[in-house]
């Protein structure tokens, strides 16, 4: 009937023969408004099916009650787990989440960030694209006054807020496990060398080997750009060595999937000729006949929740417009331990 004609406080004011300010205050439970007036206003609002026009409020308050979440991929199990927790947290604060997927493309990532900036999101949670090397957008967002919290893929910079995973603990557990099963030929398929996450993994790998008294063989560390071909090539590189390793840690479960195909293509058998452990728990394993030995869990849900919590602290601080916007609010990092999870024994 009344097509699209949403009632406004003006309408309510007119009908009740009072002023719009009174209506506004009544609706917001302002203490200075009489109980009877407040009730009358609320009753009519209910009847008319009144709903405040948020766009007007956003405009007025310079806030959108919206946060942006930018991830390389929405479909990876790791990220969907993080998304769920972020959404839960945001919803509890009556915030809406805008999602964006960079597909690991820096250009796309920048475009998404600009869109979010234009839409005036109140804050951003960001897992950077794997291929991003330039982080000008940090400056852009800082200028726009939009707080950012990184997680998972975090640029190697000091002045940023982030939830970071301690990749070393998990790696140590993985190598210890392999060693205690008698493996001596332990190899590592690492990700792109420029990633902080790769550097940290590699350090941990070497440390753990030393710790177990296993000499480091440089040929046992190979790299992939995380593409299917890269993963396959890296695996074949290991398989084709004269002294083929019997155990392999890889950058993540997706690398392992391709590695398993490569292993099979060479007539070898997983969990017999070669044992595998990788980062990030990928639930599809339970449907595989011959899954990897274990995964190193990185608690994406927890990381997401922590990132959201940190972001809202920053947003709240901004809102309270504390005069001291000096350096205090920059550069906090929370570290989470990674942990080995058995899949198969």
């Amino acid at each position: 009937m009344n097509k699209g004609k949403q009632p406004t406080i003006k309408e309510i004011a007119k009908r009740l023969k009072i002023s719009t300010s009174t209506v506004s205050r009544a609706l917001n439970d302002h203490p200075s408004i009489g109980l009877i007036t407040t009730m009358r206003v609320k009753k009519l609002a209910e009847e008319l099916n009144y709903e405040p026009n948020r766009t007007a409020i956003f405009f007025k308050q310079r806030k959108t009650f919206t946060i942006g979440v930018i991830l390389p991929s929405l479909s990876e199990a790791f990220f969907s787990a993080a998304i769920s927790e972020i959404e839960n947290f945001a919803n509890s604060r009556n915030y809406t989440v805008i999602l964006g997927q960079s597909l690991d493309d820096p250009e796309r990532e920048l475009k998404i960030i600009n869109t979010m900036k234009v839409h005036r999101v109140d804050g951003i949670i960001l897992s950077s694209a794997k291929n991003t090397r330039e982080f000008e957008y940090i400056e852009i967002l800082r200028n726009a006054g939009i707080p950012v919290v990184f997680f998972d893929c975090v640029p190697d910079l000091v002045q940023i807020n982030a939830i970071v995973s301690n990749l070393k603990t998990g790696m140590k557990e993985a190598i210890d496990t392999f060693a205690s099963c008698g493996h001596r030929g332990i190899a590592f398929i690492n990700g792109p060398a420029h990633l902080p996450a790769s550097k940290e993994r590699e350090e941990a790998f070497i440390d753990a080997l030393v710790n177990n008294g296993i000499p480091l063989n440089r040929d046992y560390i190979v790299y992939t750009d995380l593409s299917e071909k890269g993963n396959t090539d890296a695996t074949l590189q290991l398989i084709n060595l004269s002294e083929r390793p019997s155990a392999v840690v890889s950058f993540n479960d997706y690398v392992t999937l391709d590695a398993m195909n490569a292993v099979r293509s060479k007539g070898l058998t997983v969990n017999q000729d070669i044992f595998l452990i990788s980062y990030a728990n990928y639930p599809i394993w339970k449907y595989m006949e011959n899954p990897p030995m274990a995964s190193i869990e990185q608690l994406p849900g927890k990381q997401g929740a922590l990132a959201a919590e940190m972001l809202f602290e920053l947003i709240d601080r901004d809102t309270e417009e504390n005069a001291d916007d000096s350096g205090i609010k920059q550069g906090r990092k929370i570290v989470l331990e990674s942990k080995l999870v058995n899949q198969h024994v």
Copy 2:
């Protein structure tokens, strides 16, 4: 430095000693503004790093240039493919996409719809939660003047816009394939009986059997609520029959995943004791040693693109506020064929 103080057209107007309307028009390439003025305005805007305050524009124009997309799950391959195409389409129109996942929970779904309504999205693309039986939200959105396009999981109603998949073509191909391989014991694991998608599949299943001269065995049609347990139980029901079927079509690839585990748990071998075909192509198959025989592709990307196209037509029509908002714009449906895709032979 100038922390947060975004320049406005007012600022530009003042500096250039012209009126704000001129600035506004110049910025929007209004033809009636002199070339020189336009240039001067644009130059200064550039220098000041001016960016229009969208929240003000949204407010003024009663539009948010935002569409909502609500799906049961963001991580299912089917939906992520659809999302990508929807995003592409929306971006080309300078629209932002707000994603929401219902997790097949009607309550969550309703909440998301309300959030989107409050945020005044200009339109919604919706794949309904599997468990939703009440569609009051259609009325709510209609009253709010927000156009909706359904796809994938479409309520069985006349007055809605939707992209629907013709599930029959794929089913026919699947049964034909089984039959031509000599299978006579062909069973079907269907989804919840209340879903239109289940009814259509079942009809097609029966038709296709008849067509191949295979008598229908009622025991060969079982149902699952799509939970892991439901899928497993349904599969075991078939396996435990005195005359175990040799071929099974199932509701979708996720059902098949659980079915495969059930098959193995009984000591049977996929692609030997039992052959499988299911709806929706799930890319992880390529990592399985023993994937199902085939999948029935439903072209999620194409469905998404078509849904977006249809939605924008509705949005544009609303904007042009054609007086004849009679029934014309209600109830259009576009049908897409489903198609068998060989996985393994």
